[in-house]
Symmetry: C2
């Protein structure tokens, strides 16, 4: 298993709406093939900054299967309008 770690910056004034939209999108991740876990983390020090951390069975499950699915289009339609800049996305492997 790997994690997708997406760093998302939004206008802090829209935080409540953004969090609601992510909540609406969550089931589309959780129903996706290869999705293992889903959490949205809000930065305490940096207003408007979030980490979306999604566990996937593999990088391909995220970058190929999910990105090419209708669910990804729904995710983007729900939350894409909140992005102040393109999210930075990386994947991580658990060492410890």
């Amino acid at each position: 298993m790997i994690y997708e770690v997406a760093t998302i910056q939004i206008d802090p004034a829209l935080a409540a709406d953004f969090e609601t939209a992510v909540g609406k999108a969550r089931p589309y991740f959780e129903a996706a093939l290869g999705c293992v876990s889903f959490t949205l983390q809000k930065s305490i020090e940096n207003t408007g900054r979030y980490l979306l951390i999604v566990g996937w069975e593999s990088v391909e499950a995220h970058m190929v299967d999910f990105r090419n699915s209708e669910s990804f289009q729904i995710w983007r339609s729900l939350v894409g309008g909140f992005f102040a800049s393109p999210p930075s996305v990386e994947h991580t492997l658990t060492i410890i």
Copy 2:
């Protein structure tokens, strides 16, 4: 509960030694008052980049209690020499 998310950059040639050192330091975190969880994540795309994600009962448990403890000194003595630049540290709150 909150998470400490520390982004750490090291010389990729020293990855194995760094990971061993973090493993040695782990019990000092886990024994610390207010420490809830501990994981070291390695970036797949960015060589030498790691996320240390530590769950704490509060920001104070990390920034006051742990930072002023002998365990923090031990952590720094074990892994500080690997840092290619000062780690960036932020704290996050679980929204979803």
